[in-house]
């Protein structure tokens, strides 16, 4: 099945009835290809979470529409058939450990698959697999999720989503507050899901290094609008522009930018540390001459 996500002139208004409602999304038009790895960046409050919640039909557009494969979500879409649709779109929320509630880890992970009509034994199989994927020891299966460490809870919550075998996986700052090792492991896991299972990955993040390292497409949001779309080279080659939109630079680009500010001419679009190293060597040689 083709899971292209098409977002068409979508706006979202959080209407709490107050006198000055805010458009959290303004006329967003965006296409996300099937099997791609997309990062969504933007400073706090720019509408990233609001945008990704539309892809899971947790929010409905105020105007405009969005389609995922054959499924279309419009302002007047009824709440009835959403469940079937959500099965294909897994969503890991900001601080997903808040959603844990079962007596045991395994039961919590089985919750999603069971809701989507899997049998007990299949759900358990999926749960055990998911635990293995996220790097949780199977000995933890019968423990209470509330007795785990923060990082372990995060993994249980992720396993709960992965066990549903989604085709599109949305992650809203999945590694916020984790230690560097867990961070790396989780980012690796997401990438593996993308490569091995052809999942479309939509990652909301503030970690520019991850953006550069993993994504095919980067979406920059500011004040509810999509202000730039491109691959990471295109996005990060203009430090001034990024700073203007209150975004950080990836470490390589930051280093290069600092060098250029100090009067050394290094090219702006450096995708990885090797390019940076090469550029520095070249600058050094020029200096020597």
């Amino acid at each position: 099945m083709d899971n292209t996500i098409k977002i068409d002139h979508l706006s979202h208004l959080y209407d709490d009835g107050s006198n000055n409602p805010v458009y959290a999304l303004k006329d967003v038009t965006l296409t996300i290809k099937d099997n791609s790895y997309v990062s969504i960046i933007g400073h706090t409050g720019s509408g990233k979470s609001t945008l990704v919640q539309h892809i899971n039909a947790l929010l409905k557009p105020t105007t405009g529409e969005l389609s995922v494969g054959d499924f279309k979500i419009e302002p007047k879409t009824s709440n009835k058939n959403l469940k079937k649709f959500r099965q294909h779109v897994g969503m890991v929320f900001q601080f997903p450990e808040k959603q844990l509630f079962e007596e045991t880890v395994i039961k919590d992970i089985m919750f999603g698959p069971l809701n989507y009509g899997k049998s007990e034994s299949v759900a358990e199989q999926l749960a055990l697999e998911a635990m293995d994927l996220v790097g949780l020891d199977s000995k933890l299966a019968e423990k209470s999720p509330f007795d785990l460490s923060g990082g372990q809870k995060r993994r249980v919550a992720m396993a709960g989503v992965l066990a549903m075998q989604p085709e599109i996986l949305i992650l809203d700052e999945p590694t916020a507050g984790l230690d560097p090792k867990s961070h790396r492991e989780i980012m690796d896991l997401i990438y593996r899901m993308h490569i091995d299972r052809q999942m479309t990955i939509i990652l909301v993040t503030h970690q520019m290094d991850d953006v550069v390292q993993y994504s095919d497409q980067v979406v920059v949001m500011d004040h509810g609008e999509v202000v730039k779309v491109g691959n990471s080279t295109e996005i990060f080659n203009d430090p001034q522009w990024l700073i203007q939109h209150q975004l950080a630079l990836p470490s390589n680009a930051e280093f290069a930018y600092r060098l250029s500010q100090a009067g050394y001419q290094v090219p702006g679009n450096l995708d990885n540390i090797w390019q940076l190293a090469k550029a520095i060597i070249e600058v050094g040689e020029v200096d020597h001459e």
Partner: protein
């Protein structure tokens, strides 16, 4: 969404006359108004109170749709009470009789009045809630309860508890929304299906909500203790809400209407 029907703890900042009144005055006037409602007993007196509350609403600058939303969750309670009143009250000339039920002209009128009373009380408390920040509200209550201190009633502690509780209402509402979304994404269907199903889906919502609330409480108490909190000190305040001229004027208007109500009632 479910939460948006909920008026409690939903302060709407503003700059109106009502917003600028001190919380203790607003509380006092609200209580006073509720008392006056029970004095009204005929059309003119109720009409006066309706005009008064409408004037208050206009003055608060908050759109009327908010008030209608505030009534909606209580609608069934109101209808039930009004029906009870209509079906079981006695006196007056019967219009309709069936077993122990009888509808009389008097009971219809009484039912109507009860309906108006409900509306008036809800409107008033909605104005109070929407124009007063939770912290100001707690402060107002503290000011009003101050006389009880002489009886060694722990007014300050109570006010602190209240303001903390009120402070966490929006947090918990946000959290409810977040958790509902997270469980929806895991295939839970909230708000549809049989009663049994609805009770079952409350578990994945309530357990995270409670554990979250307990975590908040623990963190907060640790933080307070770490900063040397004890409940015996005399605390100074960052904001001080003094009784102002506008409070007196507002109160006088309400007293005036109350006097009129007493004059025109049967």
């Amino acid at each position: 969404m479910i939460m948006s029907n909920f008026i409690f703890g939903r302060y709407l900042p503003g700059n109106s006359w009502i917003h600028k009144m001190s919380p203790q005055a607003k509380l006092l006037i609200s209580f006073f108004f509720v008392l006056v409602i029970f004095l009204a007993n005929n059309l003119i007196s109720y009409a006066m109170l309706i005009v008064l509350i409408l004037a208050t609403i206009v003055l608060s600058g908050i759109s009327i749709s908010f008030f209608i939303k505030g009534i909606r969750p209580l609608l069934w309670l109101i209808i039930f009470t009004v029906l009870l009143q209509i079906l079981f009250s006695s006196g007056g000339t019967p219009i309709f009789k069936w077993g122990i039920f009888s509808i009389t002209d008097q009971s219809l009128i009484n039912g109507g009045y009860i309906f108006i009373r409900f509306l008036l009380i809800i409107m008033m408390s909605t104005v109070l809630m929407l124009t007063t920040s939770p912290l100001a509200l707690a402060d107002g209550i503290q000011t009003l309860l101050k006389p009880l201190k002489r009886l060694h009633f722990p007014v300050d502690t109570l006010a602190l508890m209240l303001s903390i509780a009120l402070r966490f209402v929006p947090t918990l509402m946000d959290e409810t929304q977040t958790i509902m979304n997270a469980q929806r994404a895991r295939g839970v269907d909230f708000g549809s299906g049989s009663i049994k199903h609805r009770i079952k889906v409350a578990v994945p919502l309530l357990i995270p909500l409670f554990t979250g609330a307990i975590t908040h409480a623990e963190n907060l108490s640790t933080a307070m203790e770490a900063r040397g909190f004890t409940d015996s000190e005399h605390r100074s305040k960052y904001r001080i809400y003094k009784w102002q001229k506008r409070d007196t004027i507002s109160f006088l208007v309400y007293i005036l209407v109350a006097v009129l109500v007493i004059l025109v009632r049967k």
